[in-house]
């Protein structure tokens, strides 16, 4: 990763809609050069995709996000992987992190308000 690539990434990370022209001006490079850098970052999957940060609570106030700490017993030969995979197949699960410390997995879920009952049942 060279310095120019890093600077382009930093500018795009702040705002993915910045176009090559703006970035070229800010970094004092040609538009062509910036387009090339972005194309490379995309094809190398360093830039994975351009997503939108949505404030869902403004769209639907029934929606909630929760972080759940999960303790599991590793399976023989597969460790945490099998259970982690099972967990992230649930559509409500947005991410699963392997943690060090008092518990094993941190599961981020998104769904309707908690009063509606359990969102995901983890066996």
């Amino acid at each position: 990763m060279n310095e120019l690539q890093l600077k382009v990434l930093e500018l795009l990370k702040e705002d993915a809609r910045r176009d090559a022209e703006l970035i070229a001006t800010m970094l004092d490079r040609s538009i062509e050069e910036i387009k090339q850098v972005i194309a490379e970052l995309e094809s190398d999957h360093i830039i994975v995709k351009y997503a939108t940060v949505v404030n869902w609570s403004k769209v639907d106030d029934e929606k909630v996000t929760a972080l759940i700490e999960v303790q599991i017993t590793p399976e023989r030969g597969r460790g945490f992987e099998g259970i982690a995979e099972r967990i992230y197949l649930y559509p409500e699960v947005k991410s699963v992190y392997l943690m060090s410390g008092a518990y094993d997995l941190l599961v981020e879920i998104e769904g309707k308000k908690l009063e509606r009952g359990c969102l995901v049942r983890i066996e």
């Binding site: 500018l11 702040e14 705002d15 910045r18 703006l22 001006t25 800010m26 970094l27 004092d28």
Partner: protein, 403 residues
Amino acid sequence: MIKDKETVTPRKEMADYLSPMARGIKPSGIRRFFDLVSARKDVITLGVGEPDFTTPWHVREAAVYSLETGKTQYTSNAGMPELRGAIGQYLNDQFAVEYNPADEILVTVGGSEAIDLALRALITPGDEILIPEPCYISYSPITTLSGGVAVGIETFAKDNFKLKAESLQAAITPRSKVLILCYPSNPTGGIMTYEDWLPIAKIVEENDLIVISDEIYAELTYGSKHVSFAAVPGMKDRTILVSGFSKAFAMTGWRMGYACGHTDLIAAMLKIHQYTVMCAPVMGQYAALEALSPHGLEEKDRMMESYNQRRRLVVKGFREIGLDCHEPEGAFYAFPSIQSTGLTSEQFAQRLLEEANVAAVPGGVFGLGGEGHLRCSYATSVAQLTEALDRIGNFVAKVKQGS
């Protein structure tokens, strides 16, 4: 004896009790303008001369830790020895100037106090203080308060607002005593290179002047590295170098600055400092010490890069709008000319605020040579700058069409 609650009417108007010097100085033109701004909604302001970064966390944490460990007493009047040592080391590393922390460095309440102390220590009533303009707005009022006579020297956009030897020479009289320099410049963004300094140094020498060099924007140069006036051969003993942490380290609210110079000058300034403020705030001193650590310097560089990116955006924007904009090579201001619109800077700024909801400072408030320009600080977010440029572009097009 005056009884409780009994009111006694003063014999004169209250203003008549004030000293002629306090009465004589004008309120800050920037403040006056920004009182108008605060009354409006949805204004984008390019007005304030202040970083948009919050002080980096590790610097804030150093101040918090100093409180936790009970560091709440006065420090040595000149500032903590460790901090003076760090400032000396920093100035030497960055700008190749050498000061002895023991008696050539004084930690002050912002660069502002350092300027005040320097002028008070030097001025005998009637002395002429040479001030290249357009410039930072505090030099002339403080000169007046100290009994000096401020003599403006106009600088021009065609010279990128550099101070020219001819202009300096023309302003000199037998009463000239002090030259105030501020490069990189607020409000123009102009800088002086080593070659630019040489003829100035010659005149300073020939006329036996003392220089107050306000180098608070020294870290903010884009292209060539800042050359301190004190680093010009023969100039160190004639120069009081003023700087501080407000701009480069994003620490305006902490009020941390310093002055460096010949021990006799610093000793005189220290006397005034002792009687007026005792010492700079101790938490701020701990924070400043952290700001000069390797980690702090790294953060500073990160912020500099970000200003530079925004500077390019703004200069290009003004040029596309059709406003002449000399390349600002330092500080975080662009100073485009608005003469092509046929408006005065005051009219332009006023109408820009009312009709386009963008606030910037009319160049006229910065003294000679400022009229016809607008000071725009680009220390604000890219989104705001882009929007502000759009609004200014539409406004200028409208004015040029004559409506």
